[in-house]
Symmetry: C2
Subunit: 339 residues, 2 copies
């Protein structure tokens, strides 16, 4: 049959539609006998309940909204794309679908919210990356569970899947320290961003542990946002006032690539003259020369975790807030070297 409904199944199995529904939901009050009869009819007709009808009465759509800014979606490095892919995979496991939407990074009063919220077309939402706090406020008014990924508003109790940035910052810095570097620069953009700030804190902590003093002149966190071009510019600034830097910890891979580009431009060899380490692990191994040492962030896994979390929040209907911290890992390639 083209598109069988529950009625067709009921007729075929010679029971009421309620019985069919109860069988589908594994209700206990059905005898094994009838259950099997119904199940057979279901497979025979290749019946699948209609999402729309289900959604209407059960108030569950089976959809999860995925919100990120326009900018993040368009980024060339596949950071958020990978997270999105993780959510997609896990969504299948949970019989859910992901509705992706992008929003403007400057969201104003009066701007309309994602349509899937307004039309009650999602059971929960995942917000990936930094988004305007006004948007978060607006979204919180709807009674829909939210899971943040890689960013959360600092003031509130929320569910979040976050990277252990502090530890990552320490790992990167310690790696350079262990290679014997004494003058280690830190290059970051948008230090207001909690993630970047934590990476910076990791840097400071690692230096402290190694009994190395913090040198303001080795630090540049003035760039707007952590993109390649800003890594280039930051490197230019910092190297023009310091001639003796031997290693750079850039707050992410994009900036690290910019740093490397600048250093090549002024004739430096990497890693022979200067060691450079990044963060995120988003540039593929043979796309930059030398291959970049970095801190690997398990992007897919973050998406998976976020989907698991939102899925459980939706199902259990509990208002608990859970924080999941994903581990990072030092990946030593060829952009860092013993001094």
């Amino acid at each position: 049959m083209a598109n069988p409904t529950i009625k067709d199944v009921a007729k075929a199995a010679n029971v009421s539609i309620a019985t069919v529904s109860l069988v589908i939901h594994n209700h206990k009050r059905i005898s094994m006998e009838t259950k099997q009869k119904v199940l057979d009819a279901i497979t025979a007709l290749n019946y699948h309940p209609s999402r729309s009808a289900r959604g209407l009465v059960s108030r569950k759509t089976g959809n999860i909204g995925f919100i990120l800014t326009h900018d993040h979606f368009l980024r060339t490095e596949p950071f958020y794309t990978q997270i999105f892919m993780g959510t997609e995979f896990e969504a299948r496991e949970n019989e859910l679908y992901v509705l992706l939407t992008t929003i403007d990074s400057n969201f104003h009063e009066g701007d309309s919210l994602p349509r899937f919220i307004l039309e009650r077309n999602v059971d929960g939402m995942i917000i990936a990356g930094k988004v305007p706090s006004l948007l978060i406020d607006k979204l919180s008014n709807y009674n829909i569970p939210i899971v943040f990924v890689d960013y959360s508003p600092s003031n509130k109790k929320v569910s979040i899947v976050a990277v252990d940035n502090l530890h990552g910052g320490m790992l990167a810095t310690q790696h350079l320290v262990e290679l014997g570097h004494k003058k280690i620069a830190f290059i970051g953009g948008d230090i207001e961003h909690p993630s970047i700030n934590d990476r910076f804190n990791g840097y400071k902590l690692a230096l402290e542990k190694a009994s190395m003093s913090l040198n303001e002149r080795l630090i540049n966190t003035e760039e707007d946002y952590p993109a390649r071009i800003n890594g280039y510019n930051a490197a230019k600034k910092i190297f023009s006032i310091n001639k003796d830097i031997s290693a750079v910890f850039a707050c992410n891979d994009a900036m690290a690539v910019g740093v490397i580009q600048y250093l090549k431009d002024i004739g430096k060899q990497i890693p022979n003259d200067i060691s450079v380490i990044g963060f995120d692990d988003v540039v593929s191994e043979n796309s930059v020369n030398p291959p970049l040492s970095t801190i690997r962030v398990p992007k897919m896994e973050m998406g998976v975790e976020a989907m698991r979390l939102i899925s459980s929040l939706v199902k259990d209907h509990k208002k608990i807030h859970k924080k999941i911290l994903v581990n990072v890992e030092l990946v030593v390639r060829q952009s860092t070297k013993k001094l």
Copy 2:
């Protein structure tokens, strides 16, 4: 009000719910007066029709399915990702959402179809890239419009958004010819794939136009699929039997990168010793050295076109088949040089 329904609006505007619905659909039989009254109530209550309820009666879900193979989704080059992004953007314009799902590249009899098909949760679908023909057959049984992107089963009349691969193949080859190259190799994988085959035909056509003879020894199309590693291997084979090749046209960027890597390994300089051109334009400008000359495929635009097409097919309910050929463009960077 938390989640106003059409009833609430009707009450507020002091009309029947039918009237509200008619206003929403811009039905002519409503006076300007009442229309305004209803519209006011709608904005006052911030009312938006429920997708589930709409879907149930109108048999339109407002969703479009996006199907691609697991492999393609996981590819590091953002080819299909970009197409997907294009569909997302255009979806917003058409008040649609995209439900993405991946399928196994070897689909067997008995494997279950994407859930969104079974649950009637999409109005149409976009199939991106090469997928098993058995799957296509199965999907065709459902009465849901399909638009193919970048691949279509050769035997059938279908709607498709395709790349002008033939022209692209000619452009790439002509570019090398114009630079004075005489011995131009072609490296391709999976020559059964219509796209790759067309690129190859473009190569042949361009040579013919330039009155250059086709040399079988300059051609390698034996690799399974067009990935970097296979580009490397193909280059190895072809250069071991030809010492005088001065230029290579690789059927896509991934293979071109592999070719470059091999050439570097055997000590060749690019483009001084050998010119290399790719196809697709998926490797970012500074991720390979030297930056790769290539044929640009407008990936986003393809997604946009595909969504436009499926959207119109869904709306007009016509069974027409339309083919959209998107233009390609020669992008000269630094991997090709005058002989």
